[in-house]
Amino acid sequence: MTRNGRTMFLRIFRCCPVAVAGLVLASPALAHEQAGVGGGLMSGLLHPLTGIDHLIAMVAVGIWGAQLGAPAIWVLPITFPLVMGLGGVLGVLRVPLPVPEVMVALSAFVLGIAVAMRLRLPFVSAAAIVAVFAVFHGHAHGSELPGSADPLAFGVGFVASTGLLHLCGIAIGRLTRWPAGERLIQGLGAGIALLGGYFLAQSLGAVA
């Protein structure tokens, strides 16, 4: 054996106890464990984020609220979760709603147009539109709740996640203070409407 070979052998030999100890002491990583409170919370937090149609609609709600100003900007974050909770109860109780996927996609489309066109509806009309869509979004989340790892943690997760998406939308909507920001937001609204239109066409079977 050459000198280099012996050195290499010694190095490998010295590493062996560490490797053996590592193997013996190894425990499963459980990195993708969706169990218990942690699993329920994680799936609840991710549920509104992983559906793009849900995500853009919730952000659009926040932006539109910011565009409408008071009282919409402060009534929205207080009442929306409650109305969504009503939809969630319908989902938990397995009460069927007509064409839920179409309505979720339609919500992104309509809210995107409202943002893009700076639609200034009376507060009651705007609240009624948002409330109808909130019920359908809540229904979609609520129907997943009974099958989750921990229903309470799932509920906490998706309510918090939805509320934070609204907050993002309101924060983006504050750009309306500047003319360039206003144009940017209208462009964003148009993008949301386009995506919503795509999801709407997809849910109606018009595109694959």
Partner: protein, 206 residues
């Protein structure tokens, strides 16, 4: 150098020889039941939500009204624990817990001003119910006094801290206008109410 090394070695050997066990883990000194009582509610999401909601509600009412809960809430936990143990009430129905969450959330979201007596009665009732529910961990070998002390201390710490946080966040009501801080607290109420509402539905469905 050698002399210094020798002296150092002797000093180290003497220190090692005189070392005693640290007894840092006083669980073995019969204080484990105290920690069991303190940690039992903190490892339960239902307790965390309800206690948190109660602390936020008390904080939203201001220091003058909220400070009563620093005493009332831990006493309610203690009373509930004792009643739960005496009458064999081991846990509340999930729907009842969810309904309490809904009520607390609605009270916080609507920003209804409650009189001190009502606020204290609500806090006492909630604490008593949760205290009774926490009696489930009382085994025959559990030191009840230590468990009760732990639970009461946890209640005192949690309610005081959350109330203080809410008070500091909310600030003083210098103007009649609605500030974004108050809206944030009320939005939390909306979240809590929504969770309670869905859990009521879940309780009815299951």
């Amino acid at each position: 150098m050698n002399m210094t090394f020798r002296r150092g070695s002797i000093a180290a050997a003497m220190l090692l020889a005189q070392a005693n066990s640290a007894d840092a883990h006083i669980v073995g000194a019969r204080l484990g039941d105290f920690y069991a009582g303190a940690l039992h509610p903190l490892t339960n999401l239902q307790d965390l939500i309800l206690w948190g909601a109660m602390g936020l509600l008390a904080g939203s009412h201001g220091a003058a009204k909220g400070r009563w809960l620093v005493v009332v809430f831990p006493l309610g936990l203690l009373a509930g624990l004792m009643l739960g143990r005496s009458f064999g009430i081991v846990s509340t129905a999930p729907t009842a817990d969810a309904a309490m969450t809904l009520v607390l959330g609605l009270l916080l979201a609507s920003a209804i001003r409650m009189p001190i007596a009502q606020l204290c009665a609500l806090a006492f009732a909630l604490a008593a119910i949760r205290g009774a529910a926490n009696a489930t961990d009382l085994g025959p070998e559990t030191d009840r006094a230590l468990f009760a002390a732990g639970l009461t201390c946890a209640g005192y710490v949690v309610i005081t801290l959350i109330m203080a946080l809410a008070l500091a966040f909310r600030g003083t009501e210098t103007t009649a206008s609605i500030t974004w801080r108050q809206i944030t607290l009320r939005a939390f109420g909306g979240w809590i109410a929504a969770i309670g509402l869905m859990m009521v539905g879940f309780g009815l469905a299951s």
